[in-house]
Symmetry: D2
Subunit: 302 residues, 4 copies
């Protein structure tokens, strides 16, 4: 394996973890997917995460996954990264799916912690998993820590240890423990690029050394999230803080409060294609849609 | 749909949720699987659960899953049930996989609660999921509640409501809340056959109205679990209680304490085929194997 | 210390953990307390637990606590036990308060796990705590495990170890893990008398070797809980199971669902003295009271 | 009530939540307490929190509490605030204890969320509690949210609502959810001064609008925590971030990792008076002390 961290891609900036559009029959809607990507291309994103939690990854077949990556790859300019979410429960399926992602042009893979047997997912087991995946691939690997969905929360020493592998280059951490992010930045240093996994703590994460963020909010408020990043880079901290605070409620609405159905409903409201979710997820009710609209207006996104 | 609860299969008795054997290359080992089933056939089990949590279901491809069911079906006498674990995250994949299970001869399917987006898995969403699956199948559906792995814990009112569908005939509940089981028996009545999902509370569950159990322990202590069931049926409660208490530590060893690696190691010790687990699960260390042996001896299973 | 487990009191039977009545000014209402006890005395209880969780123990001053014990002691016949809840956060205050309980005639003390610094409440720390209390007292000590309120859940090995002290004679476990109760009965044997801490799993607990129960439900359904105990003792298991199932919903209403305010409202409905709770607890609203009444009627308690 | 938020005290800056020293017999050691305060007085703290979680508040009698406040008040210069931790489970005891704190010169009280009956601690119940306390006092009230110890985690809307009372002027939030802090700053505005409750997220909290912090680390690394605050005020964000990262491991050692025993051991190492903890807390073992020393050295605090 000749890849070294030094040669690795830069993850600095904002990445929307894009949703997967379905048509009314429940099939992947590739046309609307392309249209959405075209609109997002107008913003200065560092790239896209395709098939993270917001992409309903767990509801797609392997074939659908590959096709979604192909469509997005085609629509993504060369100066933006396409990061493919490829984490499966088994190491062998994660490797196989990651290889398919690489074959269709993914620049990196984002690998969710396996978690079904969470009692057995020790630091040892996770290191074995990630190192096996990183060994097998020619493209770099990002760790994906998402305790709210998985019940597994990697701590700073485990992350730092896994990051010693030269082909592990980054982490998306959605847990919201900014102290832990600071500790990872401190101990992993140049071995690992840290990305905030939610807009709710984007500015705080940048402050302690994160280089960017992968956040649902970037789908519905692309320019605002980029502005927040730019204001921080420019040292305009007070303006950044005001924007950060303004966006919290909108971010909550399209994540913890209404979930992926809320994200898709917000996209519909904002004239992107949101469309239906796959069952067992249920669409928002009319009352919830009105609440969501009010939150978008209040947050100056609509 | 002509199936009614009255016509449904009886779930009374003991079911081992059998593990899936792999060879040293990590492929499904069908020969050893058949051998294990032959030995278990010597005991008076009500049937087998194939691809529950102990079957490493989440680590198999769909093709492997179907092949495992075919092998077990072939080895299972007609007077025993084969119940196939078929729960996927999406309703559509659960239906598709369940249909494949039915096609290769499963008598019923055991459907784990979808759980990745656990915040959205309301009673409403779960009812929609289970009713869609039950509508689509010609074989009966059992609910599978496993909060330790999923973070989702269906309450008694939700279960009772879902059980109103004539093709939902049973539940395996592994949560250990025996009060809840009693409440389900009380409110669902003849609509639902309740199975204890772990040997740790088998006798208590029988006492409040459960009809049987699906438990990892039955793989390694087949006669003891059947004896426990028979003692209860015969009204020999004190002997049953003694046996229940004696088996607790062994049960813990092959479930919460050492997980599926512990179950497989115990099978190896007991001259069944246990074999390797799939990564990211890790095999027991030598010290853990010695501890496990001591527990098996102490519990009079070895 | 001459006390040995062999000489210790018998805890077999049913104990209501009685609430503390307050008047409209919020003072302890000793008259109504005496009246309630007189009515409960008509039932064949093994005794009373005075100042457990249902007694709003955490809301009373030390002086009020002693006065409550005095009043109940006076009203309790000699053939019933008075067990005083005396668990404080510090070992020294627990010893002091327990000594006061002994001085006013308590037959035993029930000592809640200290829990504020739960991360530090290791088996070692808890053993030190309980052994210090047991060393200091001339009356026996019962452990009180209540994870729903404390966040601390003693496991079977810890309990068994603590029970080796000759003056630790029993445990009230409200956690609902009946498998753990079985394990404690198995490993602690004659060292420890196990009491179910809630009616939701009373019969299951008896089945695996518990000797009785301390349960909120006994306050509002005294005869039903005693009947359940007697039916089990008489080997009439099916009738016991039916009664157990019938009582679940009522039990939930006066515990997890409506809490102490629900217990007191149920007492008011049943012509005991319930009266107000202390703030920050809030009284039930009118709608909740109607729901509670319906549950009492449905459970044939009203 | 003439007090208004505008007239309220300023909470900007760093506050150590000081531990309570005990002598070898377990009595409060007032001499060492005074000595510690004298040394801390050399640093530019905004004041002291006396009897927070680090003060072993739950292990003291009311009389001991008042005496501790008297000693600290006497040792505290007039330009520093003394904030007394006074939260009890009942509203009435909280009011009484808070009044005693005011009588001996506390500038404000810090009131922990009541939590024993956590299922009943709704936003409604907490508002009733805090407003009753705030109504009864002539000195201002700070909310204290500490989910790791209490299991109660007030959300932003609840906090904002409670903050509408003119005598509720601040919150110490130890939960680490910086997104929530941002939301509180946004919605409560001038009604509430937000303090970070742990050094692990001090800089991130300042970034989104917190005005200061109450943190165990300030006891053992007083100048470093003040430097961090000053660097942020001076806009020297990169230096602040480096210092924040350097201090994380030390902070963890004296909080989540080793708790109050760790904090006291660190003080002993640093030539303050740490001394023994009260049981059931246990002192660190020799190995833990060596680990702690190594962490202090690594963090450049020793």
């Amino acid at each position: 394996m000749m890849i070294t961290n030094e040669a690795a891609i830069s993850l600095a900036g904002v990445f929307p973890p894009i949703p997967t559009p379905f048509d009314e029959e429940g099939h992947v809607a590739h046309g609307p997917l392309t249209d959405n990507v075209q609109r997002w291309n107008e913003h200065d994103f560092a790239g896209y995460v395709v098939l993270g939690s917001n992409g309903e990854m767990v509801y797609l077949t392997d074939q659908e996954r590959v096709e979604v990556w192909e469509t997005v790859r085609e629509g993504t300019p060369a100066d933006k990264l396409m990061i493919a979410g490829t984490g499966c429960e088994s190491t062998r399926q994660t490797i196989q799916l990651s290889s398919q992602a690489a074959a269709v042009g993914a620049d990196a893979v984002l690998v969710l912690t396996p978690h079904y047997y969470r009692g057995q997912m020790t630091g040892e087991a996770l290191a074995h998993h990630y190192w096996s995946v990183a060994d097998a691939l020619e493209i770099p690997v990002l760790l994906y820590n998402m305790p709210r969905f998985t019940g597994v929360d990697m701590d700073a020493p485990s992350v730092t240890r896994i990051a010693q592998h030269p082909n592990v280059v980054g982490i998306k951490d959605s847990g919201g423990n900014v102290g832990k992010l600071a500790q990872i930045v401190d101990s992993a240093g140049a071995d690992l690029q840290v990305l905030a996994g939610s807009a709710s703590f984007f500015l705080p994460a940048l402050t302690v050394g994160a280089l960017g963020g992968v956040m649902a909010l970037a789908n519905v408020a692309p320019q605002e999230t980029i502005d927040l990043y730019d204001l921080f880079q420019a040292g305009r901290l007070e303006e950044a803080a005001r924007l950060q605070r303004r966006l919290i409620a909108v971010n909550t609405a399209v994540t913890a409060q209404f979930g992926v159905p809320g994200l898709k409903a917000a996209l519909d409201i904002l004239d992107y294609y949101g469309g239906p979710v796959r069952s067992p997820l249920q669409p928002l009710g009319e009352l919830e849609i009105q609440t969501l609209k009010a939150i978008l207006v209040e947050g100056e996104v609509l």
